[in-house]
Symmetry: C2
Subunit: 257 residues, 2 copies
């Protein structure tokens, strides 16, 4: 579901492009699964998308980007494959060049340490602190973007994280669900911490690649198509929270991976 | 994960029986999935358990019981198959014979209306009100059994449900995750609402069937064995919240369905 926040940023930045989105609703969430399982699922999902004659693949999930990006890039070459981790890491270093950088993500992304590696590949001695925020996923899926429960959950997770010394100057939203809660996160984090939403930075990265490869569409756009591996009606209904606009249930096709 | 609350009740009631538990950790949660998908997964899981020479199958998940019990019973006959819905419905009617009865469950169980049907099969005109409580699953998996977040979530869900008139006299915990939160649920529901935990009533139903069929074990018991479809280490770690005792990671085997 969370990948729709990335699609929202992509649609806003690239209004002339056509999108096919696959939500693996039968097997979500990926955030608590092992690297092997997530990789297998991501390879299956990308194969289903390849049938739609795509020119670029966005892995719009931090857990899948962390687990499977090298395998996907190799499997699908020469198709460009863009994950959400590296653009997020670049934006975080740009926002807080002297650090420290804080990362909130799913259990799987935190455990794998992909953001730490990606940030330190750019800024080798950058201190990075991490926190898994599993309740945020459930809050986002219930549309509880603000109010007391969301705020208490944010305090629970961000309080200890932002109390580390020296105080983090940037906070990476390292799960595609989290932009739904950005107002509450911003309120709890306070004005002196830059929030880095990798949906935005990924959209910029995709634009740069399309431009470089001469693949940008200049005119004409098809309505987005959606594939879901289970419960397409629920996908359409819940998806509006993440995409920020209604999804036509008739545009969602059930696929079996 | 939640099925472990049922296993906990079964172990307490049937200390001479040996247990094999399968947690479909690769594909949880079932509560948001369609009936077809849940049924397919439940059939696969039961096939894996049949290889362990079981004498009875407990479907220790409300969503799977609601979706797949008839198919499982038919597929596995003459093996006895016990779900958690019917024992829960019986206990609810016994606790509040004049009703009304309130049911809290996952989205899937509420949408399918299995408790309403099971309760009204016993007491045809019994009024039943339902509420999906998706945050409870995330709270239980994070071990947040009490405190302000759990209490606010309980107020959010139970407030409107228990304000229906006439006021419900029994509240069915219609998801196997929810017994973890029972103290908070009891606090918010107040003393005049009977809480029905289907783990307890299912254990009683299993005992009755084993007794009737002469299958009760009188002596000797093997240590429980656990099968998980992903991340067995996480299963062992998180499982303690639900089972109420530590799970030896060496007793958890990874299986592929």
């Amino acid at each position: 579901m969370g990948g729709l926040t990335v699609m929202r940023a992509l649609k806003a930045r690239l209004p002339n492009e056509s999108f096919v989105y696959l939500g693996d609703t039968a097997r979500l969430p990926y955030g608590t699964k092992s690297v092997d399982t997530v990789t297998r699922y991501a390879v299956q999902a990308s194969a289903a998308l390849m049938k739609h004659d795509i020119k670029l693949l966005v892995v719009a999930c931090n857990t899948a980007s962390a687990a499977a990006l090298p395998v996907l890039a190799e499997t699908l070459a020469p198709l460009p494959v863009v994950g959400v981790i590296e653009p997020g890491a670049q934006a975080a270093v740009a926002a807080a060049p002297d650090g420290p950088i804080a990362v909130i993500a799913t259990e799987g992304t935190v455990r794998g340490g992909a953001y730490v590696r990606a940030i330190q590949a750019i800024a080798p001695h950058m201190p990075v602190v991490q926190q898994a925020c599993p309740l945020f996923v459930a809050l986002a899926e219930e549309g509880l973007r603000d109010g007391q429960i969301a705020e208490l959950a944010a305090q629970r997770y961000l309080g200890p994280l932002l109390a580390t010394m020296p105080r983090p100057r940037a906070l990476v939203l390292g799960c595609t669900h989290f932009p739904v809660l950005i107002d509450t996160i911003a309120k709890v984090a306070g004005p002196d911490v830059a929030l880095v939403d990798s949906a935005q930075t990924t959209a910029a990265a995709v634009e740069a690649i399309l431009q470089e490869k001469g693949l940008l569409n200049m005119d004409g756009v098809m309505a987005p198509r959606f594939l879901a591996t289970d419960a397409p009606g629920r996908f359409a209904h819940l998806g509006e929270i993440f995409l920020g606009e209604p999804i036509d249930p008739g545009a969602v096709t059930l696929v079996d991976l």
